[in-house]
């Protein structure tokens, strides 16, 4: 996908242009949206439930309220999530020292909404520590220094295939645009060839925006989350669909979901449930 974006950039020479236009789209059937990403961080955990909206409806997604939501661990512990403010944010309060996700365990999500029951499950895989975060001067083509390039160092586990989601922040603001979404297999980009290596350069340095480098004194924070193979696939599909333009676009297709309806004739589900272990490091650019 990155290759395609790159080529498109080169094709700018051919006076290619992109314009926002208006298109008449019909409205699709409503679906229940599950946004459930839990970690081993101490303290409360939240799962969001909402309903799909027309593609050009730019309002806040309508919340799905009145659902009963539970997460059960493979050891039999049950965690209840409650939407106290009727905004579709179902929260497990926890204590500041309690963690929900434990590495190696599996978790099942059960949702009961408007008479239908939905379920999903996920496993917590181990995550390696972020060993260090380094900065080197960013030299642009004209030879001038312009800010810093950050790299984080972590080493993939040997033997099994491991999947990671890397979230990164500038002064505590998450890089949240679709092209900044960074996932990795075995610390590499798209093939399992680097098993057991230190994360490769495109991942290590994948936490930078070339057009807007880190500046002296800015805080850079990196979080590495272990994810399941399915979740890695989900993020790949989602990123493809969110940035699917240009000469080499793939045929648009709906992103997979791991939520299934087990009973009732309510609306069909969409969205994702994932449990992760998390490691983190932050440093000041210098």
């Amino acid at each position: 996908m990155k290759i395609a974006l790159y080529i498109s950039a080169i094709l700018l020479f051919f006076t290619s242009c992109e314009k926002v236009i208006s298109v008449d789209l019909s409205e699709g059937k409503k679906q229940l949206v599950v946004d459930g990403f839990l970690t081993n961080e101490a303290g409360p955990q939240t799962i969001h439930l909402s309903v799909t909206q027309p593609y050009f409806d730019n309002t806040t997604p309508p919340p799905a309220i009145g659902a009963v939501l539970k997460v059960i661990s493979s050891q039999g512990d049950t965690f209840s999530f409650v939407d106290n403010n009727n905004i579709g944010a179902y929260t497990w309060p926890g204590n500041p020292t309690d963690t929900l996700c434990k590495t190696g365990l599996s978790y099942t999500l059960n949702i009961s909404y408007l008479g239908s029951n939905y379920t999903s499950s996920s496993k917590v895989n181990p995550v390696p520590p972020v060993d260090s975060l380094t900065f080197t001067p960013n030299i642009d083509v004209s030879g001038k220094q312009n800010g810093y390039v950050a790299q984080f160092f972590a080493t993939d586990f040997k033997k099994q295939d491991d999947y990671y989601w890397v979230k990164y922040y500038r002064n505590d603001t998450l890089f949240s645009d679709p092209s900044s979404l960074l996932v990795s297999i075995n610390g590499a980009i798209f093939a399992p060839g680097a098993d057991g290596f230190q994360f490769i350069v495109p991942v290590r340095a994948g936490i930078n925006k070339r057009s807007n480098p880190y500046l002296l004194g800015q805080t850079v924070k990196v979080e590495v989350l272990s994810i399941t193979a399915d979740t890695w696939q989900f993020f790949g599909e989602a990123q493809t669909q969110m940035t699917n333009g240009g000469l080499f676009a793939t045929p648009p297709a709906n992103v997979s979901t791991n939520i299934s309806k087990i009973s009732g004739d309510g609306i069909s589900p969409i969205g994702w449930f994932c449990t992760s272990a998390l490691s983190r490091k932050s440093a000041v650019a210098q």
Partner: protein, 782 residues
């Protein structure tokens, strides 16, 4: 079935004992440069019998003792006449003069039919390279593939896309031959230019249906490009200076009238010109291409002639941190041999290598390098036997060894490195064919043939066994088997019957019909709107079945005008295709050992009406084409397993190409193109996960909308020097404007979150060329 067909062949060719007959045979050439003329018609005035020169300019016809007048004709050349007293076998060398642009008197007044009515070939268009060079072109550079795209039945997914689609076929279903060797990627700079250097091209023929049994291995078309042999009389240089690249070709005799050569080269320099306009982050970008075409031929004696041709070209893209490049190299050695005046043989052997590589990371300690190749070795003996006036037999064999090297990838990180090598694959693809072109009475010609193709997937290698699963998700790998050198892993055999019929209604019109079955054993894996240079070719395996197509076509052909200068045709076709490849969602095709698990198989169908009118003589020349068509696929799990239109389905497709000789020194030309917008998939709802707005389409529909129609006008003016006797140096200026009224044609319409406000979604129209592009180029020869 096969036996009866064979005995029919034999029977029909045996009853040929009548009065004493002699053979007149020979070559047709252009006297200025000694080039043989392909596809020239020879008509016997006294009997009405006719024949066509083959790909090497050779013809042979047997007639009863007597005196005859032979009339030679082909568009772009003045007719020639030759009287013969046939008392014994006669060998001829016939010269045909190329026409200047101005009208020339046609000296021969006989009512001759033009090629489209006379020849049995249907769904076939032969383009004169001079006609291609007259069309207004992008950046002033005439291009073979872009001119092919103006013909009826040919479409493309959009501007700048690699390749072309014929009658609803995918881009990998075109057999593209450059002097008999296959070209795997016909494009430079994605699809803006093609690998064929017009300075070195002699003829271009596109066959969309009724394909002769001589050709096989692709479903949808044959694009037969023949290179010039090189001037046999004198040294000559030609070339051009353009905005985007420059060309130079040198040709001349090695031994006068016996042996000659041509060498033609091109190099682009857009990267240099574009540098000031690129953003800082792309300042060190490289993107260029070059190609070199070379050929030599030697007429050893009257019976033997050899040709050696080679092509080498490469495209390079990238920056110091990331780049890729790809290229084709082919070498062909051909030997023409005349066993006698009735039996012509051509033996071709070729080597072809297509490779591509991807490099990321500036240093060896940290990087990723990948390269991949497809190598082919082939031998093709082909014999034409001009048995008698009524029958011309063709038979031959073709055998190709495919060696696919899917690639070696090297990862390095902080000095550690690992290499993934996907095992090589080998296969032997062979075809055996026999066909007869038979004249029945004076009005009917039938060409019937059978090609029998066989495919052996051979060791050494590895085969993969997949389990069954719900269509649409990756098939689980259940095990692999290692095979030793020479082991037969899987084989496929396909009889491919071919049939063409022509019936003359009168001297102005004819009807034609054809049927062909084609089998294809090599496939391009491409899951993007336009094919990328990194798309992988794969051969049929135990998991990938050969693609099959059955096509039937019918057409009406007619000439208009006093001298039959306007050729008009109308054709309808229906094509049914099996084992078409498609892909599961998010299929992983690059460097994935288990890619076969991500493939889906389905059926395709296409049908349409094609109208074509062409005027190739006079001050005013050009053609108009209109296609009404549908191209669809049905693949389990895609579009809820219902039929859906392909990415290149265009209901209406209209092209108008005109050239006018304004004065002796000024030519003007115009192109106009209109086509229905291509289908596309549009979402109709959205949802949010982890802050990301994800689009969603009800029922997982595929290609449920169409983008806006495509239309464009191009104009050009060519200024030629004063006509002078004995002028040695000839130079012309070409001024052109591409996309004159700056239409912003949609390549795609896609949907995304507003980059400035991630909570808002928007539709974006992506245009490849959205402005008028003026250009100037200078062409010369001396």
């Amino acid at each position: 079935m096969r036996k009866t067909l064979l005995s029919f062949f034999l029977l029909s060719t045996l009853f040929s004992f009548a009065q004493e007959k002699f053979t007149v045979s020979g070559y047709v050439r252009s006297p200025e440069d000694g080039e043989e003329i392909i596809g020239a018609s020879i008509q016997v005035q006294e009997t009405g019998a006719s024949i066509t020169t083959n790909d090497y300019g050779f013809f042979s016809i047997s007639l009863p003792k007597g005196s005859y007048t032979l009339i030679f004709s082909i568009s772009g050349f003045a007719d020639a006449e030759q009287k013969v007293e046939l008392m014994q076998d006669i060998k001829l060398k016939v010269d045909m003069q190329r026409k200047a642009t101005k009208v020339e008197e046609i000296k021969i007044t006989v009512k001759r039919k033009t090629d489209n009515v006379k020849k049995i070939d249907m769904s076939t268009i032969q383009l004169d390279i001079k006609a291609i060079q007259k069309m207004p072109a992008l950046l002033g550079e005439p291009d073979v593939i872009r001119s092919i795209q103006t013909l009826p039945g040919v479409s493309t997914v959009g501007e700048g896309a690699t390749g072309f689609n014929v009658r609803g076929g995918n881009i990998d279903q075109n057999l593209i031959l450059l002097d008999e060797a296959p070209v795997f990627n016909s494009s430079h700079l994605f699809g803006f230019f093609s690998v064929f250097n017009p300075d070195a091209v002699k003829s271009v023929k596109l066959v969309k249906g009724g394909i002769s049994s001589q050709y096989g291995g692709r479903l949808s078309s044959l694009l037969d490009v023949r290179m010039k042999d090189g001037n046999k009389k004198k040294f000559q240089a030609s070339g051009g200076l353009g905005l985007i690249f420059s060309r130079l070709a040198i040709e001349g005799p090695i031994i006068k009238n016996k042996a000659s050569f041509i060498v033609a080269a091109r190099r682009s320099y857009i990267d240099v010109l574009a540098k000031p306009f690129l953003p800082t982050s792309l300042k060190d970008a490289k993107f260029y291409f070059y190609d070199l075409t070379a050929k030599a031929n030697w007429e050893i004696n009257e019976k033997n002639k050899i040709y050696l041709s080679a092509y080498m070209g490469r495209d390079v893209f990238g920056t110091s941190a990331f780049g890729f490049n790809w290229g084709n190299a082919t070498t062909t050695l051909r030997w023409n041999h005349l066993f006698n005046e009735k039996m012509f043989m051509n033996m071709t052997t070729y080597y072809s290598n297509y490779d591509y590589r991807l490099d990321a990371g500036a240093t060896d300690a940290n990087g990723f390098h990948w390269n991949s190749n497809i190598i082919n070795y082939a031998v093709k003996p082909e014999v034409t036997y001009y048995l008698n006036t009524k029958n011309t037999l063709k038979f031959g064999l073709q055998s190709t060894l495919h060696n696919i090297k899917p690639g070696t990838a090297t990862f390095s990180s902080s000095g550690q490195s690992s290499t993934i090598t996907l095992a090589d694959k080998y296969a032997l693809e062979s075809g055996l064919y026999l066909e007869n072109e038979q004249k029945i009475g004076t009005k009917l010609i039938v060409n019937y043939g059978l090609r029998y193709s066989g495919y052996l997937f051979l060791g050494p290698g590895k085969s993969y066994n997949y389990g069954d699963t719900t269509a649409g998700i990756a098939k689980p790998l259940e095990g692999t088997t290692d095979h030793k050198n020479g082991d037969l892993i899987t084989s496929y055999f396909n009889p491919e019957p071919r049939l063409s019929v022509k019936y003359d209604i009168n001297d102005k019109s004819s009807i034609k019909a054809s049927y062909n079955r084609m089998a294809q054993y090599i496939h391009l894996l491409s899951n993007t709107a336009a094919s990328t240079p990194l798309d992988m070719w794969t051969i049929s395996t135990n998991n990938i079945k050969p693609q099959l197509a059955d096509q039937a076509a019918m057409g009406y052909f007619r000439n208009f005008g006093e001298k039959h200068v306007i050729e008009v045709s109308a054709e309808v076709y229906y094509k049914w295709m099996q084992n078409q490849l498609d892909y599961i969602k998010n299929a992983s095709l690059l460097l994935n050992e288990k890619f076969e698990g991500d493939l889906l198989g389905g059926n395709g169908r296409s049908y349409g009406l094609e109208l074509y009118a062409k005027k190739s003589e006079g001050r005013f020349t050009g053609w108009a084409s209109y296609t009404l068509s549908r191209s669809e696929r049905k693949v389990a799990s895609i579009n809820q397993s219902n039929w859906y239109p392909t990415r290149y389905d265009k209901t209406h497709n209209f092209n108008l190409i005109l050239a006018y000789a304004l004065t002796k020194r000024i030519d003007v030309a115009a192109n106009f193109v209109y086509s229905t917008g291509v289908p596309s998939t549009f979402p109709n709802s959205r949802y949010v996960v982890q802050g990301y707005i994800i689009p969603n389409t009800e029922n997982d529909a595929r290609n449920n909308f169409r983008v806006t129609p495509y239309h464009r006008l191009d104009l050009s003016v060519t200024l030629k020097p004063k006509v002078k006797e004995n002028r040695k140096f000839y130079g012309e200026w070409v001024f052109s404007v591409y996309n004159v009224y700056a239409r912003e044609n949609a390549f795609t319409i896609y949907f995304q979150a507003d980059p400035n406000d991630a909570t808002k979604t928007q539709a974006i129209r992506y245009t490849i060329i959205g402005t008028a592009i003026p250009s100037v180029s200078y062409n010369f020869n001396f």
